[in-house]
């Protein structure tokens, strides 16, 4: 019981942190609350299914690389066409992204002719036993990839020039423009990165844990990333990691202790959101969260 919570919690938490990192990146840089973030998670899983099983029957390891790239390009195009024209108005952004999410869900339902689930292959077949637990190679690989990507992004944002431009745009937009940075291009790049991260998380979760992909799988990841971001504070990479671990462990614990009731698991991120807002309305780490003055 306890070792299952520790190991599985560690593995899912890392993926959740990666998912929320994408969400907090696009919010921090361009101020867009992307309610379609979970949609890209779902599209990632479906793209992986298309590449490996549905249409092309390619190697799953190739799908793992190709699907996030495709989703990243889709995210960039979506941003340019749908989100960028309404970026100044907060309510319109929310409406546009919600509409995008529902439209994609319907599109997937139509595209799969009303199939409610499609099977997703594991990235690498087989499993090993560790500490009395059967762990699939896929889940270990997913954990490793998430951790590696997280560290890569950390370095990318703090050291590389483009990443510095992203941070600058989040701090002061006008000054960044005056320094000669094409902010629209920075936004598009951020969106591509953010959606690609969501896609990686989607592939990891669906192929290593669920084994299926379904059109309604966009809401839970969205709620998760919101809970993590509220916990950890906006735009903070460290906070997102800690928040991801708290939410991931909480969910795994509930899932392990109450294995029969699926509806309780979906409430976990919601309860965390409400608890944080009631008990510590500034988030765990202070002032980064946007609240009333």
């Amino acid at each position: 019981m306890i070792e299952s919570i520790i190991i599985v919690g560690l593995m899912t938490s890392m993926i959740y942190a990666l998912l929320a990192l994408g969400f907090t990146l696009i919010y921090g840089v361009s101020g867009v609350v992307n309610l379609a973030h979970g949609t890209f998670f779902m599209i990632g899983a479906y793209m992986f299914y298309l590449i490996t099983g549905g249409v092309f029957h390619l190697d799953p390891r190739l799908g793992l690389i190709a699907a996030p790239v495709v989703v990243g390009i889709m995210g960039a195009v979506t941003y340019r066409i749908i989100i960028h024209p309404v970026i100044r108005d907060e309510v319109s952004t929310l409406v546009a992204t919600v509409c995008l999410a529902i439209a994609t869900q319907q599109l997937v339902l139509l595209g799969t002719k009303g199939l409610f689930m499609v099977p997703v292959e594991p990235i690498v077949p087989g499993y090993t036993t560790f500490w009395g637990l059967a762990l699939t190679y896929s889940s270990i690989l997913a954990f490793a990839i998430s951790a590696a990507l997280y560290i890569f992004l950390w370095i990318f944002i703090s050291k590389v020039k483009v990443g510095k431009a992203m941070r600058a745009a989040s701090q002061d937009l006008e000054a960044t423009m005056l320094m000669g940075v094409n902010t629209t291009r920075v936004y598009i790049l951020t969106m591509a990165l953010s959606t690609a991260l969501a896609a990686v998380a989607g592939i990891s979760i669906s192929s290593a844990y669920l084994g299926v992909a379904y059109p309604y799988m966009w809401f839970h990841p969205l709620a998760l990333s919101f809970a993590i971001v509220i916990l950890g504070g906006l735009g903070s990479i460290k906070g997102t990691l800690v928040g991801g671990f708290i939410v991931g462990y909480a969910e795994t614990a509930v899932k392990t202790l109450y294995p029969t009731s699926a509806s309780i698991v979906t409430v976990v991120p919601m309860v965390i959101i409400v608890l944080v807002l009631v008990l510590r309305p500034k988030g765990l780490f202070g002032k980064r969260i946007e609240l009333e003055e």
Binding site: V86, D89, A103, L110, M270, V274, P281
Partner: protein
């Protein structure tokens, strides 16, 4: 030449049609809507119209919260569901009659909203949107956690109707006809509820309170600095909006005679967001017009009049959302709002023109009736 003609037609449109006083226009619309049963719609259409009336109350309450105080709510179905479930449970456990459970459950929703506004109003914008969504989802999960009380998926069934069928059973009337008359009674009841709701909301938003609410939306800090208790007004708007949403939920539950978790559905929370884009935000009547357009297009026109094939009908939500997406990119404040704003601009432009000698004189010479607003404005500007 064509453009001249068009322009002339347009200015005559402005002079004659737009200048109908809004009160008269509203009165005409209400009269038209009240006289719908005169056209003898079939039972299906009438049922759709009843639920449209109920949904109109719901979206109007949403607009009070979002359009006037700017507190984005993506979980408004919460109040709808709480209203519906509380009246259902009050009947199930205390066997109270409908006319007592509905006011009681409205009170329940009101107090719930005041309690919930404590955590919800600490946050703004997207956080509030997500928090309200979280509330709605938690509520719908609570139903599954206590299945013996709420009945989980099957919900609470066999609730009493507002107008029981035996009221309409008379000699010489077929069963079908009496059901139709029952629906007709529902239609008028929901319609009167809708009109009263709209009147109350309109009065609230066009009074001093409404001005305060808009000032909170525009600049919270400045309104605070002017000595306004911002929190009080926010809680008031939240609770008032919840009250009407809960009332709509009660009506719905006693119309279909059951309450199930579908009342809390996420798609239902998104409905006001979608129809507001059709009607225009921050107007109260905008979303109401939007929901009528949506329902009439969706359920009556496409299904009964054109009879589009089923494959396309299945894609209707997708098509609808795609259209909304294009609209929100093009006109972020809604089509209705776009048109009225444009007309206002034109009227102002015309006022400026009128002050110039030429057009003012032509209008005067021809003895054309100029709208009350335009006349008052012209007088003020002199």
């Amino acid at each position: 030449m064509v453009t001249t003609y068009l322009r002339r037609a347009y200015s005559s449109f402005l002079a004659h049609v737009v200048d109908i006083p809004p009160r008269l226009l509203a009165f005409i619309l209400i009269l038209l809507w009240a006289s719908v049963p005169v056209f003898k719609p079939d039972g299906y259409t009438l049922t759709i119209l009843v639920s449209t009336n109920i949904w109109a109350i719901f979206v109007a309450s949403w607009d009070l919260l979002v359009g006037f105080t700017g507190q984005m709510s993506l979980g408004h179905a919460l109040f709808y569901g709480i209203g519906g479930y509380s009246t259902a449970l009050l009947f199930k456990y205390f066997q109270l009659p409908v006319w007592i459970t509905i006011p009681l459950s409205v009170v329940v929703v009101f107090s719930f909203a005041i309690i919930l506004s404590y955590p919800a109003l600490r946050v703004k914008g997207p956080y509030l949107a997500m928090t309200t969504m979280a509330f709605a989802l938690i509520a719908s999960s609570v139903l599954y956690i206590f299945p013996e009380i709420t009945g989980a998926d099957s919900g609470v069934r066999k609730l009493p109707l507002l107008f029981p069928l035996k009221l309409f059973r008379r000699e010489g009337i077929s069963a079908l006809e009496s059901v139709y008359q029952q629906t007709l009674a529902y239609y008028y009841f929901t319609f009167i509820s809708l009109v009263i709701t709209l009147l109350i909301l309109y009065k609230v938003t066009h009074s001093k309170t409404g001005i305060v609410l808009v000032s909170v939306l525009d600049d919270e800090l400045a309104s605070k600095a002017s000595g306004i208790n911002v929190d009080k007004f926010k809680v008031m708007a939240f609770a008032l909006s919840a009250l009407f949403a809960g009332y709509a939920g009660c009506l719905q539950v006693h119309f279909v005679s059951f309450a199930d978790p579908g009342l809390f559905a996420l798609t239902f929370s998104f409905l006001p967001v979608i129809v507001t884009i059709l009607g225009g935000i921050g107007t109260i009547y905008g979303p109401v017009i939007g929901v009528f357009v949506y329902q009439i297009l969706n359920e009556i026109f496409f299904r009964k009049v054109i009879k589009i094939p089923l494959e396309i009908y299945q894609a209707k939500l997708l098509i609808f959302i795609a259209v909304i997406l294009i609209l929100v990119i093009k006109w972020p404040r809604g089509i209705g709002r776009f048109i009225t704003d444009k007309l206002k601009d034109l009227e102002e432009a015309r006022d400026i023109d009128e002050r110039g000698p030429r057009i003012w004189k032509t209008y005067k010479k021809k003895g054309k009736k100029i709208g009350v607003i335009a006349r008052v404005r012209a007088r003020l500007k002199k």
